[in-house]
Amino acid sequence: MEVVNNVAEKRRKKSTAPPNEIITMTNVCKAYSTGAPALKDVNLHINRGEFVFIVGDSGSGKSTLIKLLLRELTITSGFINVMGYDLAKIKHRKIPKFRRNLGVVFQDFRLLKDRNVYDNVAFAQRIIQKSNKEIKKNVPSILAIVGLAGKYKAKPRQLSGGEQQRVALARALVNKPTVLLADEPTGNLDPKNSWEIMKLLEQINEGGTTVIVVTHNREIVNAMQKRVVTLKKGVIVSDEEKGGYIDED
């Protein structure tokens, strides 16, 4: 524990950000090889334990932002630091360690279709090489949290969309991430399931995890009264505490 804390401490000292800041983006631009830049001069600071909605039209750069935070993509210019890692400079072999503190869920769930619910979640623990004993303890408890304890033997195709997203969520959470990234997690779900997933995300956030959710769901954003960052054509046009979904004109 001592050693880990020291490493984290050193990292924090290296960056100029306040100690409580877990995501720092300053003047970030991202341009794909074709077309206009997807993100322009983005400045975003997120503290440990925050719940943040990212909203905006289709094509405004929300997914690009998530991919930069995941280090699936690299920035074109600017500065990006996530959990103490300078993502413009991180070495390829350090990326796995970085990602072990991140949980991700996507609109299309991305489950392993040939494995049952239990194995899909255990998969995440196998990858970070947890012992069988820990896996047998952690997987059932996380499945209980997302409300799927009774369905651990089902294959993904036997589940509803909402249930599949819960499995994906359980997989993202079982490794106890510091930050949870969700790119349109309710995009394929009906209103009832959407609400249930959002409530789960809120509950996870209350447990101390920083949660960042990309969504199109106006009602939920307006109802939940969280911080809302609005993107438009690659630019942050608003960033409000207890914000609402800004209507486009």
Partner: protein
């Protein structure tokens, strides 16, 4: 790596084999076919070489001496011949021995009519070479020697055998090279298909924070197992086939057995087993590691 992680990886490798049954079967069939041809070819080539070598061993150069030569001079000549590197064996045949064997071979009972040895000057050295292609050089050397009257050689046999040997070497290298290229190409294709089927899984693994090593391992294990299975099948087939063919040839063509000496199946498999397994596992290993590497960047 933890023991439990190692077994997990191993299980995933085995699982991969069954998950993509048809690709697995295609890969195994490809490697099997290549290694079957390789094994067949190898068995034929080494037998040919063995036969050629036995034939070569029978090719000799005969050296006759000047009339009235001293025995000590004959011994000196023998000494300097023996020292030459291309000489495998040298045998002295005295005039009496030459006459005896001639009598036995050609005259039989009629030999009694001779009172003196008609082959008085036929004492000679029979020289056997370890490399037939060196025959001409040796003959030139022998002819220049003091006390040597005549050098007999079997020119035809020597050049033919040398030619056949070279031909076998070229053809075998050529065919093996082609087989290799074909199997590497096919394996790489098959592995690429297998990987692309599981591309999504690899992506998920990378998102969760799997190391490159952990992502690669099951695929590499899968590749190596395909290689090992792909090598074992043709080995078994060739083993059985070889024994059947050998027995058939020896029973149906007994005079061939006298003329040609075939290798036993054990002599062949002594080399063929490690080489086939090495090639099979090697191709599986290389094919999978190269292909997984290509799909790893997320």
């Amino acid at each position: 790596m933890r023991i439990s992680s190692f077994f997990y990886t191993l299980r995933q490798g085995v699982r991969n084999l069954f998950r993509n049954k048809w690709f697995t079967l295609a890969s195994i069939a490809t490697i099997s076919a290549c290694l079957f041809l390789f094994g067949l070819f190898y068995a034929i080539v080494v037998n040919f070489q063995h036969i050629v070598r036995s034939a070569e061993e029978g090719v000799s150069v005969t050296v006759f001496f000047d009339e009235g030569i001293e025995d000590t001079r004959i011994q000196d000549i023998g000494e300097s011949i023996r020292k030459r590197p291309e000489v495998a064996n040298i045998i002295f045949i005295s005039a009496e021995e030459a006459w005896d064997s001639f009598k036995k071979e050609y005259l039989g009972e009629y030999a009694d009519g001779f009172t003196e040895n008609p082959l008085a000057d036929s004492a000679n050295y029979e020289i056997y070479l370890n490399d037939v292609s060196m025959q001409s050089a040796l003959v030139t050397y022998l002819e220049a020697m003091d006390g040597v009257r005549l050098v007999n050689r079997s020119e035809l046999a020597a050049t033919t055998l040398t030619g056949v040997n070279a031909l076998i070497a070229y053809v075998s290298v050529g065919i093996i090279a082609i087989l290799f290229a074909v199997s590497v190409f096919l394996i790489s294709n098959t592995v690429t298909i297998g990987i692309s089927v599981r591309k999504e899984e690899i992506n998920i693994m990378k998102y969760i924070g799997a190391t490159d090593f952990f992502v690669r391992s099951p695929f590499v294990i899968e590749g190596m197992m395909i290689g090992a299975i792909g090598a074992s099948i043709p080995l078994g087939v060739i083993y059985t086939l070889y024994n059947i063919v050998l027995e058939y040839v020896l029973v149906r063509f007994p005079m061939l057995a006298d003329l040609l000496s075939f290798l036993t199946v054990d002599e062949i498999f002594h080399v063929l087993i490690p080489v086939s397994l090495g090639i099979g596992v090697g191709i599986g290993f290389l094919g999978s590691i190269v292909t997984v590497r290509k799909h790893l960047r997320v």
